[in-house]
Amino acid sequence: MPAINTASLPDIIFMLLFFFMSVTSLKEVTYKVRITPPEATELVKLEKKSLVRYIYVGTPTEEYRKAFGSETRIQLDDAFADVAQLEDYVVRERSAMSEDEQNLMTISIKADKDTKMGIIADIKQALRRAYALKISYAAVQRTSY
């Protein structure tokens, strides 16, 4: 029996590889908080990932329960943070951007749907103080009422 010619196999796999490389994006961070996004309908796609910074809000996942409790926490990049650190974080991130992009920075708040508004309001106040006024509440498309 003649062997099947597999010479084109690498090409096929490379094609697949390129397809996946172009449609996906690198994971931003590993979630340390559990987030079930809220649902909404009037969603806008976030353009230009490089201009977006994320704030994660939710209860710590199982493995961090012991150390951080089960109260709602904020995660910035890869670490838990305090509302007080938020202003510094935004200013630092913004100064790292090029000058003409600085006022285009968008903050995406990824919060769990069961979060209390108290903490969100604190975040919003901190963002106002840091002059990061363009925000986006991350949500998923609602399919039904």
Partner: protein, 194 residues
């Protein structure tokens, strides 16, 4: 001289290498597209700036309150979230020139001519510290949806095409007719909860 045959590079491992790369990318990337509800925050109050008691005509304000049980109080009446969009549209548009609804001002808008619109209306959203984020976002969503629908209806009536199909200048002009004015008060503790 006899031609030496160049040995071919053995490419049989190529498939394995590319498979490996493929799997690496599959694992380390995520497919999700980020979507969200875009909002703009007001600039912070300057320390020496006094909170002005803006003299807003009462009929120009639309108050939406959300309590800690995620119930809505719209203009002093309880309302279901499903009715909020229609109610908001009625308020912003004030089709019948109702004296209870916001004042209509006739103004020249570039590209549209003389338009009568509720220039000074304000939507005020107040929530409790214990309000659930989902409930808050739903209210914001309905308010934004009301604006979007009004803009779209206007574009359809005026130009026969949807708002999204218009060019940027026209969209700007329609945004002037229906300016998004959603103001958010500092969160307060309205009954219930500690």
């Amino acid at each position: 001289m006899a031609k030496r045959k160049i040995p071919e590079i053995n490419a049989s491992s190529m498939a394995d290498i590319s498979f490996l790369l493929l799997i690496f990318f599959l694992v380390s990337t995520s497919m999700s597209v980020d979507k969200g509800l875009s909002r703009r925050l007001p600039p912070p109050l300057q320390p020496n700036q006094k909170v002005e008691d803006m003299d807003i005509n009462k009929r120009n304000i639309f108050v939406v309150k959300i309590n800690s049980m995620n119930q809505l109080l719209v203009q002093g009446k309880e309302l279901d979230i499903k009715q909020l969009r229609a109610k908001t549209k009625e308020f912003i548009d004030n089709k019948a020139n109702d004296p209870e609804l916001p004042v209509k001002v006739a103004e020249e808008i570039e590209g549209l001519g003389l338009v009568e619109y509720t220039k000074d209306h304000v939507i005020s959203v107040q929530n409790d510290v214990d309000t659930q984020y989902q409930a808050y976002l739903e209210v914001q969503n309905e308010l934004v949806a009301a604006y979007n629908e009004l803009r779209d209806e206007y574009a359809r009536n005026r130009f026969g095409v949807s708002y999204a199909e218009l060019d940027e200048d026209m969209q700007k002009a329609i945004q002037k007719v229906y300016p998004q004015k959603i103001s958010e008060a500092e969160p307060k503790n309205y009954g219930g909860g500690k």
